[in-house]
């Protein structure tokens, strides 16, 4: 941590900072410049943050040097992690490419099964599907709740595909965890810390979507909340950030994949469906995700998008899936990865 003093800071101001820092066991190195003085701190970052040095007289800026996350940091865990999901132990990690697919929302047993079969035929090894849907409007379809989870469980029994499904309320974590193989935390809950802690304690792998306006650092701090509860089975999901561009629903931050891989040992997947919000962009964005080194993708599919109760315009249909599959087959090997096989 570096403390930058204002040009008008006095010796008294400098000494006050130095004493405070040494008082908690830190070291302070003072560099006196022509126009201003800076103080470099050595020691425990958490201790220093509690000192609130920015509020001291004469202090102009406090520059944090280290990253604030620990358990999810690659500094402390240089080897990349692999997260295994479900009884089929579908891996998400550095040597595989994992396709996660399914309907945005579970609507009926028939629609969910049809979508799951489409997904599996296309090479998916995990089934996504929402039973609890966070919707901007209270008048929009909110999901089937536990009835939806039962449908997912039936479809899992039929297809063998482990289930990834969202949980939006701490009160639902137990029931969702009793059905799901992987818990998803959505973009709107990216800083719902109570929910992060609850899924951290639920004993299931977690897919953590990036908040639509989260910096990468904040996203990793959200993962740290989960990790702190003893759960390091976390997969990060880049799903687009909010910008001024209107041609797409969000702006897929494709750079986030290598940036996260450089900072954290956790796997990263990309959601090309929600980032673009347009069916015609899903395959192109998926291709970019594979080539840049994502550990997988998560896509919306629907047997009949025109009747979908949620996000139909971005759902892939059968012909799109064929194109997606052939893209994965061509590109994944070049990225040094093998497609995670669907369950038998």
């Amino acid at each position: 941590m570096v403390i930058v003093l204002s040009p008008s800071a006095t010796e008294v101001n400098i000494n006050a900072v130095v004493s405070k820092v040494t008082g908690v066991g830190g070291q302070a190195f003072v560099s006196r410049g022509e126009r201003r003085t800076i103080i470099g701190l050595v020691g425990d970052l958490d201790l220093f943050e509690d000192l609130n040095l920015l509020a001291f007289d004469g202090v102009q800026r406090v520059v944090r040097i280290s990253t604030p996350f620990k358990l999810v940091s690659r500094d402390h865990h240089p080897e990349k992690s692999t997260v295994m999901v479900g009884t089929s132990r579908a891996p998400i990690g550095p040597r595989t490419f994992t396709l996660i697919a399914g309907p945005c929302a579970v609507e009926t047993p028939e629609q969910t099964l049809a979508a799951a079969q489409m997904a599996k035929a296309a090479g998916a090894s995990l089934l996504r599907g929402g039973a609890y849907k966070p919707r901007s409007s209270p008048y929009a379809f909110q999901g089937l709740g536990e009835a939806g989870l039962r449908i997912l469980a039936d479809v899992r029994a039929e297809t063998g595909l482990p289930i990834v499904t969202e949980v939006v309320d701490v009160a639902d974590v137990d029931v969702v965890a009793s059905y799901a193989d992987m818990l998803q935390v959505g973009t709107r809950n990216a800083q719902n810390f109570a929910l992060l802690q609850a899924v951290g304690a639920a004993g299931k792998p977690v897919m953590l979507k990036r908040g639509m306006s989260s910096t990468i650092e904040e996203w990793l701090m959200a993962a740290e909340y989960i990790a702190q509860r003893g759960n390091l089975e976390i997969v990060l999901c880049e799903r687009g950030i909010r910008t001024f561009e209107k041609a797409t629903r969000n702006t897929l931050d494709i750079s986030a994949v290598p940036v996260v891989h450089s900072l954290s040992h956790l796997p990263v997947v990309v959601d090309p469906s929600h980032s673009g919000g347009r069916r015609d962009l899903v395959v192109p964005l998926s291709r970019a995700a594979i080539a840049i080194g994502a550990d997988g993708i998560i896509v919306d599919v629907h047997p009949d998008p025109a009747t979908a109760l949620c996000d139909g315009p971005q759902a892939l249909m059968a012909e799109d899936l064929a194109e997606l599959t052939s893209s994965i087959k061509a590109l994944a090997p070049i990225a040094g990865r093998t497609l995670t096989a669907p369950p038998a």
Copy 2:
């Protein structure tokens, strides 16, 4: 709602849209242009949204014309609302200017009482103070919890100031509501719909902060979630949005005040402390808020910012409060408002 067809749309495509719309009881007016056709829909917007017309063949764009919120809309409730808080019935509404002040976080009984006395002396009629703190880092101070609520209740007994305090978890709503006079939902929970519904059912007025990347429409939809549970005692709080500018913590969207007033009957207050994140900006931003017609402001104060456990660098001290008070006294009358008086 207007349906824009692509240049290549056929008569079959047009008829499919028209039949679908008339099938749910709507009317469809077709305008055939030189290059493309548009269809104007008349009827119930919610019905039309469920039709998922964007997924129909030949449909290029669906343009929503009406606002999607109802209970909080000014269309349905032209008169501006006043929200009354606490047993002192402190009003937040169109004829008053209400100062809400207090420590960012409750730390000790002494610090909270001292801050409350500073606030009251400066003209505050409501006390803010956090017992449950949402923090980006799990290693940061998270608040005292119920012990903090008890301190707030004691300080209320001493000063008469009703309490505004944040709730971050559905599980805590009952206990927070049992102490608080007004429940605050913070920026990170702006789309935590389970929490919005829970505070909507808690029987206390709510202060709803804007999400750091929420559009004004999304913010009003979040308020609609609360209103749907039968609670229209909602005050909106503009606290800055996320942009590329680095000189301030967030960018205060001052235009949001008149925009919200034109769209909704709910009161709007401004948080100059969290938007700028700098003590030197609090009074200037407060002046702008009063002059533009905000119904109040909510500011951080601290008897000794250098020891604050949270957001010390933006807390006002005694001398700043004197300047704030004199600004309010000078500007509120010009904005056609009287300062809400502190309790006796």
Copy 3:
């Protein structure tokens, strides 16, 4: 400047940085931490920037501490500047509030004169009006060019109001400067450095609009380009930045007024017309601008907005101007300012 080394940096890496810095006459203070080392540099910032230290082995981050602008910095010129415009010497500075008003575009002599008379009656001491218009579409009205300048000069002769008008091309600087009293550089040219240098050399005061995605630091650097050519008669104009919010054309960054005043001695005015893009927001935003301490505002007026060739929807009409004038009269004294008087 602070050099942050990566945890894996070696003594050789550290010495390479230190030698490079001392080689150009600087001083380097090394602070060795538990996990990483930082080096504080003391000396000439420009020299250090040329060293490209970020490309050195072992260097992870270079943190600039000082501001990069000089001539426009308040550090070097603590007293706030006043810029005088035209033969009437209309001041823009710390003790006055200056209303600049006129049509977005000069269309006809009649429309320009009518707008100027409306502006003067409302208290404007300077006339704005565009003869050269930068438009996103090449098919939109681009302005009358020199014919427009002649109209402005005639209206100045009639009303006494000095003229503020935009120049969009280096090739036009001389002709525009031969008519105008103040040259305006628009948001799209905020980093058109050739144009900035040309207006810097033109011998007339300059109004420099903020780029729609410029940080405050970049904006001040653009001003530095003008100042470097010997022209410190610069007025900065905040006109809204680009964000995700759609209710307004841009988001007025009202905090920029006090932030710029803390960093620079130059005056700052606000453009409430182009930031909101809506007539109903112009007066409210103007009120916020006055209260927060802006040195003036620049607004669009039009005798008949429905026929305006440019930005009609945001132009004020006679009744709006009356409201604006009364707001200025009430608020400017509270901000410690007197309204700059129109020419006799």
Copy 4:
């Protein structure tokens, strides 16, 4: 174009709009809803825009349906274009993948030749290099000017590589065009319309970078300015947009590649160097660009980044180029493209 009336609009208001539209030869279809009326306009968009209908009484919103660009639109030119550069006729278009590489800035003959040889060895068929540099700071290195152009011409003579170089001032267009094979317009000049028109008239192909806060529509409108001068030899370059994320210099909007391809017939290349601003991201971002279907990339290379006068931290070195080349060789065929061969 669709005109949305406010709920309070009267028959007189509706008729005023209809007469105005029919008066210029358009057709107006009125759809009367329960709560509001909409009017669909059929005819010439440019005519309608000049009517300024948003300023009419009772008009609440004007929704443009068609795209505002014409010459660069794919609607009017369904076949994708190929732009040929230099006497070697290096193609940039739908069947090839073109590598453009070279130093950010031309510094010395030796550095430029070394960088060009590195580029050519890596498979580049075009040489980039700046002689005129737009820099945020007037104190930063601004380029060698015409001396730099002469160096580029010498290096072209030596290597056979056609030259892509930036022009920042209308006054320099002739001299730059006399040396260059392709003129580049940079992000800061994305809406410098005078410069766009001048390069449109210069008789050389143009590389048009996206403005750092331009929407895709604005970017295509900027291309329309060039096209209007009779020059359709335009290549668009996505180079990242400005967002709140701080881990990268800009956020590469990878979705822009397929979005532009769907809207325009012009080729699109990606600049992975300036979007990320970090050497370690250049190869990963290049891989994404190839896989998503970009028509080429433009990258910074430098024989010795530590001494670079501009953007050294993002320049590729020899070992990075080898990795880039092998990525292109593996991925371009999968994207259905062949690498444009360097000149003999």
